[in-house]
C-alpha cells in the first residue's frame, strides 16, 4: 500500500479513552520490534516523542469523540490517513463514557468538578464512525492483541482482517467450556456478544459482560427473556446492556426497552 521505496507509515491516535487499546501494541512484547521493523512508526505519542507530520498509510484510532476540538481533530486525522482503523469499544461505540448520552452532562460535571463551568465537553460521547468514514472497526474493551496484529498485517497486505463476527458462545464451544448459564444459572451475555476475547469470563466461572459489543444480528430479545427467567429485574436488564458498548445499536435498543 505504500510506495515501494519506503516502509508504510503507521500512526496511533488517542481520543477519550483509558489508553489500554494502544497499550495493547506495546503489550506485544514478542512482536513489537518486528512490527517496528516492518512499518515506520510515524506518530505514536505513548511510545515516542519523534513525530512525523504529513500523511499516514495506516492510522489506528483509540477513544471516542467527547469535545468540539476532538470532533475537528478526527476530520484532520481522516484527511491525512489512507486507511483508518478504530481500535476498541470507545472508538467503535463511544465507550463507558457514553453513559452520559442518557444523562445531563452538566449535572455530571457538577458531581465531579468544583467548577463545572470550566468544563468544555459535548453532551454525548460518540463513535469515530459517527464523524468520519472508517475502513475497519476492531472490537473489544480492551482489544485483543492477537487480533490487533492480524489487523495490522491484513491492512498492510491489502486484505480483509479475519475477525469472526459470531458470538462468544462459539468460542466457549471451541474451548470446551461448560455453559455457565445452562449449568450454573449465571447470567451471561455470551449469546449476543461479538467473539474475539476467547471467552475469558466463562473460562473463569463468570458470565460474559459484553465488553466486545454486539455480534452480527444478535437476538437480544430472546436473551433478555432468559435473563429475566434467571431472576434479573428490569433495572438489571437495562444496565446489563448499558456498559462499555452502551451506545452500540443492538445493545442501546435493548437497554432502552427496559428503561423507565
Amino acid at each position: 500500500m505504500a510506495a515501494k521505496n519506503r516502509k508504510p507509515r503507521l500512526a496511533v491516535w488517542k481520543f477519550a479513552s483509558c489508553d489500554g487499546c494502544q497499550l495493547s501494541l506495546l503489550d506485544c512484547e514478542d512482536e513489537l520490534l518486528a512490527v517496528a521493523g516492518a512499518v515506520d512508526i510515524a506518530y505514536f505519542l505513548e511510545a515516542t516523542r519523534g513525530a512525523v507530520r504529513g500523511r499516514y498509510d495506516l492510522s489506528l484510532v483509540e477513544g471516542s469523540v467527547t469535545t468540539a476540538s476532538d470532533a475537528a481533530r478526527i476530520q484532520d486525522v481522516r484527511a491525512r490517513s489512507r486507511t483508518l482503523v478504530t481500535i476498541g469499544a470507545c472508538a467503535t461505540a463511544g465507550g463507558i463514557q457514553a453513559l452520559r448520552n442518557w444523562a445531563d452532562v452538566k449535572e455530571y460535571a457538577s458531581v465531579v468538578y468544583a467548577r463545572p463551568d470550566y468544563i468544555q465537553t459535548l453532551a454525548t460521547s460518540t463513535a469515530i464512525a459517527d464523524h468520519v468514514a472508517v475502513d475497519f472497526e476492531l472490537r473489544g474493551c480492551p482489544i485483543s492483541k492477537r487480533q490487533l496484529l492480524e489487523v495490522i498485517s491484513a491492512m498492510l497486505a491489502g486484505r480483509r482482517p479475519v475477525t469472526p463476527p459470531h458470538s462468544v458462545c462459539i468460542e466457549c464451544k471451541l474451548k470446551g467450556n461448560v455453559c455457565v448459564m445452562v449449568a450454573l444459572g449465571t447470567p451471561c451475555l455470551g449469546p449476543v456478544t461479538h467473539a474475539g476475547c476467547g471467552a475469558i469470563c466463562p473460562s473463569y466461572n463468570r458470565g460474559c459482560y459484553g465488553c466486545y459489543g454486539p455480534m452480527e444480528t444478535p437476538n437480544t430479545l430472546s436473551l433478555s427473556d432468559g435473563l429475566h427467567k434467571l431472576g434479573m429485574d428490569k433495572r438489571g436488564l437495562m444496565q446489563v446492556y448499558r456498559t462499555f458498548n452502551a451506545s452500540a445499536g443492538p445493545f442501546r435498543e435493548e437497554s432502552d426497552r427496559h428503561d423507565g
Partner: protein
C-alpha cells in the same frame, strides 16, 4: 525585560495527553504549568445508580495501564463498607496480582518511557537500535508481569477475575508453578535492571518533599496500611478527606490535591520507598545499597532506580507468595449488600489511589469519590519544574524542552487516570 516561554504542546511517552508551559522572566523561572487536556469522562458521576458488584469492572476502565490499582482500591473500599476483610490465600492472591501490575507498569516506564530520556533517544524503538539487549530484557520483564495478570486476572488489560469478596476463580497450585520459574528469571533481569539504570547520569538535585504513602506493620504496602507522611501524618483511609483537599489554583488549569495543613506533597515510588525501606526484601535492600541509593531518596530523576528496586521486590514477593500458596476452599467470601460508606487507599504503581463509595441498602452506589496519584502529584510536578529548570536555561531550546519533559516523566504521569483534571485556557493579556 526578556520573556521566554517554553512550550511542549503534546507531551510524549506518558499515558494520556498533557502539555507543559514554563514562563521565564529576566532569567528566572516565573511559573510552570503541567497542563492536562485529557477530556473528562465523569466516572464518579456515571457510577451512581450502578450495583456495587459492577464497580471493579467499571473503574478498571479509568486506566488501561493500572487497572488492577483501580480494581483493588474499589474492592477494598466496598469491603470496608460491608465490614469484610480479606485473609489467607485470597489476601495473598491480591498481593500477587498487584505484583504483576507493578512489574508490568514499572518495566513499561523504565524501559519504554523513561530510559530513552537518559540515553538520548526519542523512544525505546529507536533506542533498540543501539541497546537491543536492554530493550529486549525490558520487554521480557514486562511480559512476566503481564503473565501474572493473565493467569490471575484472565487478561493483561482490564482483568475480569476480581470481585468484591475475592475472585471468580482461584488458581490451582500447579498453574502457579510455571509462573515461579518465569519469576526466577525475572528477578535476575530486575537485578540487572537496577544496575543498568543506576549507571545513568543524574542531575544532582533534591527537594524537601513531604512523602505520603501507605505503611503496614510488617510488609511493603500494596493494599493495606495507614496513610503516613514524612512529616508525621498517620491516618486511616477513612480520615483522608479530613487532611487532603482538592482545590483549583487560578494560574493553573487543573485541580491540585493538597495537604490542608501544609500544601504540596509527593506520592509514588520515591515516597513509598523512603517511608518503607525497612520492609523491602533483603535482596532489594542489598542491591539498593550496592547502587548507592540509601534508605531515602529525594532526587526525582533517580525515581527510575527506585522503580527498578520495586520491580525486584515485586518479583521476590511474588515468588514468596507462590511458594506459600494454599488453594482456598472457595474463590470468594459472600458479600451481602448493606447501607454504608467505605474507604480505601492502595498503592498504584504511580502512588496512593484513594476511593470512597456510599451505598444504599441494596448495594446501589449513591456517591463515589476517586483521587488518582497523578492528581495528587500535580503540585509537586510544577514545583519541580520551577526548582530544576532554572539551572538549565542556557541549554539550547530543544535540549531545554527535553529537560522539562524528562522532569515531568520522572512521575510516570498517568493522565488518563486524571478524572479530576480540568481543561481551561485563561488569557489575561
Amino acid at each position: 525585560m526578556t520573556v521566554k516561554t517554553i512550550k511542549v504542546d503534546y507531551l510524549a511517552r506518558v499515558e494520556g495527553e498533557g502539555a507543559i508551559k514554563v514562563v521565564v522572566r529576566d532569567g528566572e523561572v516565573e511559573s510552570a504549568e503541567f497542563r492536562i487536556f485529557e477530556p473528562p469522562r465523569f466516572f464518579e458521576a456515571l457510577l451512581r445508580g450502578r450495583a456495587f458488584t459492577e464497580a471493579p469492572d467499571i473503574t478498571a476502565r479509568i486506566c488501561g495501564i493500572c487497572p488492577i490499582a483501580y480494581q483493588m482500591s474499589t474492592v477494598h473500599a466496598m469491603e470496608n463498607a460491608l465490614g469484610l476483610a480479606m485473609t489467607g490465600p485470597l489476601r495473598d492472591l491480591r498481593r500477587l496480582l498487584y505484583c504483576g501490575e507493578w512489574i508490568e507498569s514499572h518495566a513499561l516506564h523504565i524501559y519504554m518511557l523513561h530510559a530513552p530520556d537518559f540515553l538520548g533517544y526519542d523512544g525505546a524503538i529507536d533506542m533498540a537500535r543501539d541497546h537491543g539487549d536492554a530493550v529486549r530484557r525490558g520487554l521480557a520483564l514486562k511480559k512476566v508481569g503481564n503473565e501474572i495478570l493473565s493467569l490471575l486476572g484472565g487478561r493483561e488489560i482490564h482483568p475480569i477475575n476480581v470481585r468484591i469478596g475475592g475472585f471468580y476463580r482461584t488458581p490451582r497450585r500447579r498453574e502457579l508453578e510455571p509462573l515461579a520459574e518465569r519469576l526466577k528469571w525475572a528477578r535476575e533481569a530486575a537485578l540487572e535492571t537496577v544496575h543498568w539504570v543506576a549507571a545513568f547520569d543524574f542531575p544532582e538535585v533534591e527537594r524537601d518533599y513531604e512523602f505520603v504513602a501507605l505503611r503496614h506493620t510488617d510488609e511493603y504496602p500494596f493494599n493495606e496500611g495507614r496513610i503516613v507522611s514524612s512529616r508525621g501524618l498517620n491516618i486511616t483511609a477513612g480520615e483522608y478527606e479530613d487532611h487532603f483537599e482538592e482545590t483549583h489554583v487560578e494560574r493553573s488549569t487543573a485541580l491540585h490535591s493538597h495537604l490542608r495543613e501544609r500544601g504540596a506533597y509527593l506520592v509514588g515510588p520515591l515516597a513509598r520507598y523512603s517511608l518503607n525501606f525497612d520492609h523491602l526484601s533483603r535482596l532489594a535492600q542489598e542491591v539498593a545499597r550496592d547502587v548507592g541509593l540509601g534508605p531515602k531518596c529525594s532526587n526525582p530523576y533517580r525515581s527510575i532506580v527506585v522503580r527498578a528496586v520495586e520491580v525486584l521486590y515485586a518479583c521476590d514477593e511474588a515468588l514468596r507468595i507462590i511458594d506459600g500458596y494454599v488453594e482456598p476452599d472457595l474463590p470468594a467470601v459472600a458479600a451481602e449488600p448493606c447501607a454504608g460508606t467505605g474507604y480505601a487507599a492502595t498503592e498504584a504503581p504511580r502512588g496512593l489511589l484513594y476511593h470512597r463509595y456510599r451505598l444504599d441498602a441494596d448495594g446501589t452506589i449513591v456517591e463515589a469519590r476517586i483521587v488518582p496519584p497523578t492528581s495528587q502529584n500535580q503540585a509537586s510536578i510544577e514545583e519541580d519544574l520551577v526548582s530544576f529548570i532554572g539551572g538549565s536555561l542556557d541549554l539550547p531550546e530543544d535540549a531545554l524542552r527535553h529537560r522539562c519533559e524528562q522532569t515531568v516523566r520522572n512521575y510516570d504521569p498517568c493522565i488518563s487516570c486524571s478524572t479530576h483534571f480540568l481543561q481551561l485556557e485563561i488569557d489575561r493579556g
